[in-house]
Symmetry: C2
Subunit: 409 residues, 2 copies
């Protein structure tokens, strides 16, 4: 009898490499959509959990509580109220599908639209996990360049026309219009209307991801693209990961009923975690606005610390536009800097950064760019981590030439 | 500009039908792995949540808390301790992967092993959602008949030999050995050893699903198959859905490190919900055993009510073996009863049942069988629902001929 099985002969032939063993967070952790630990509203979460469980904890005995597969109804009602107030989007709670993080929302939209060989239009620099999902599915992400107002509509029109002339109909246009990831831009209302016009002209829906849209320094923003839609052209998603906590896995999709029914038919998970939905619904109903005000003030301080540290330690070698909200900064270095190599070198020194090519539809334009998340590290960690990053970058690429007042040897 | 998009032309061509709109639970709900609502330990859950959040609520600010992608470490430690105590299985918390319900465990195992055209061996009567998952993947489930001790090893040996002679190597043998779903049997230790022998002889791993194993009337059971394995042949999964609450989406997979790393590389969900993991770890550490004792006593009363009602209203027309634990009863009617039609007719009367063919690798042997879940309905609902089911069955199929003391017209 063989002592052990040879699993290599049994596993599927096209698997990704095994996940590495987790070693804990690095000392300077500038990746991941993590948020400020000190402002986690622990006591209010405890109180919200107690209220919700005392009222209807017995309903945990059934899959989906007593709300059905769309998700806990009071949370869907809160999402609808929040969207109306903050995004100008009027929807029924029956058109809100609660998902296990916005990533499950991406998966469900992908599942009902995409098959290998399909094409999707994306912002040239784009959420890395959305790009990775498309690539795993064998789908081609076609990048459309951005400017300071988000995806460029003149270039989107060119791409749509070029694809049409090749007989290719993209399945959707994926955009993050309000605090673009990674660039941080906010698409003005006029451009949103242009996008809807192109969507209608080419018969290609828009998939609008608003995961960061509630984290604005001023609170001012144009309506969601979905709010400007006079038809059925927009699928909208969002999350509580950035406004409340990423370890809670709760997001949502908003779409017309027919699409929601299609996605629900592909959601085989027995529902999204009920305790998290109950706590969030109870907490957010009375605390969301004040909490968001509090955390955005903290995030703005961290952004200011990060931009100051970049200016101090990189000087003109680091180019960026400070975003109007969110938790990340998109930084461009001179083209001699290879961001993939910089990420590898800095990882060895306990500094985690997102290299630009992983956040880009095409690697080349992002070769010398990195994404730095400032949500979770403290101001002290931001200052020290950026300083050390500059030292590593100088050592590897000779950039920055100077750091602060000290010329480097 | 077109008023609306035609999504039929854009959606993937092979989607399942849209999900129906949810209308609430039927009055007599004998489907789904739901549990007793009255025994939900609401106050203890509130206290556990408060303790866990006060201690480490700030860690909700990072994906995976501070435990990494395998799941909240105190919960993995509890699972390891529970498996050692209840299933005779000694494992490290590093070999426990927390999943969003055991269904995600099934999905991950399927994903690393299965591709369209593959073959898997299953119990002839088998968990419907596991079968549905295999069919969606284009995988062939080959059923092995059961007896009162679970999957028959003589027939498994025949199937393995027959498949080998066709050049087909099944990817794994999926079994529910402790409270089989739907049959309720417990596989004796000697047969578990035989299964491991066949696994070794043919080089086919065993996937052991122990979702119901903690709900035993006596607490007595043989060791898990994984506990009897002297090699690496068994992947083991379980859940908190039946012992604590199904609306909490928390299960686990236990496997050798190499397989865990493979599954983790396919788990793209940003982690399983943290609040549910934290609450469960804190609650279960001190309350699990007493809670399980309490709920199994209640479940046994419900089972007794169901078997009494079946005897009263169906008499000898309903054949079953009362299980030694769990939340369901597998009932055989005379072959003139078409269970699919019975399920449709009873659904119209507010009674939900699982028709046997949906719980069977081949529809034919389960044509006249149904699964009745007794976990969630009250004793009164069980009595009335079974009475009404007998009336419908009599009306549709002339069976039972008699009900109680009253001969039917």
């Amino acid at each position: 009898m063989a002592a052990t099985l040879d699993y290599d002969a049994l596993l599927a032939p096209d698997l990704p490499p095994p996940a590495p063993v987790w070693k804990g967070f690095p000392p300077y952790n500038f990746i991941g959509g993590n948020v400020d630990a000190a402002s986690m509203p622990v006591e209010d979460m405890i109180a919200a959990t107690a209220t919700a469980l005392r009222r209807e904890g017995a309903t945990l005995a059934t899959y989906g509580l007593e709300s059905g597969p769309l998700g806990y109804r009071p949370l869907r009602e809160f999402v609808a109220a929040k969207l109306r107030k903050r995004s100008g989007l009027a929807v029924s709670p029956d058109n809100v599908l609660i998902t296990s993080g916005s990533n499950q929302g991406l998966d469900l939209v992908n599942e009902i639209f995409l098959r290998p060989g399909d094409t999707v239009l994306v912002e040239q620099f784009c959420y890395g996990s959305a790009l990775a999902r498309l690539r795993r599915l064998g789908v081609r992400p076609v990048g459309v360049p951005l400017d300071g107002d988000g995806m460029r509509m003149d270039l989107l029109a060119e791409k749509l026309a070029a694809l049409a002339s090749e007989g290719v109909k993209p399945k959707f246009i994926y955009v993050i219009p309000t605090i673009q990831n990674p660039g941080g831009s906010i698409m003005p209302e006029a451009r949103r209307a242009e996008l809807l016009g192109l969507s209608a002209e080419y018969g290609v829906p828009v998939f609008e991801d608003e995961c960061y849209a509630d984290l604005l320094w001023t609170g001012e923003r144009p309506p969601a693209i979905a709010a400007l839609d006079d038809g059925n052209r927009v699928i909208h998603c969002g999350s509580f990961s950035k406004t409340v906590a990423p370890a809670l896995r709760v997001g949502y999709i908003v779409a017309e009923s027919g699409l929601i029914a299609r996605m629900l038919a592909c959601k085989h998970d027995g529902g999204t975690g009920a305790l998290e939905q109950m706590m969030l619904a109870e907490y957010c109903r009375t605390h969301f606005d004040a909490h968001v005000d509090r955390v955005t003030a903290i995030l703005k301080q961290k952004l200011d610390a990060m931009t100051a540290a970049l200016e101090e330690h990189f000087g003109t070698a680091a180019e960026f536009v400070a975003p109007e909200g969110g938790i990340y900064l998109w930084v461009a270095f001179p083209e001699t800097v290879d961001a993939m190599k910089l990420a590898a070198a800095s990882a060895g020194a306990g500094i985690a950064i997102n290299p630009g090519p992983e956040w880009s539809a095409d690697a080349a334009p992002a070769r010398s760019r990195i994404r730095l998340c400032f949500g979770n590290p403290t101001v002290g960690e931001i200052r020290e981590g950026v300083k050390r990053l500059a030292e590593i970058c100088h050592r590897e690429f000779g950039i920055p030439l100077r750091s602060g007042n000290i010329e480097r040897a």
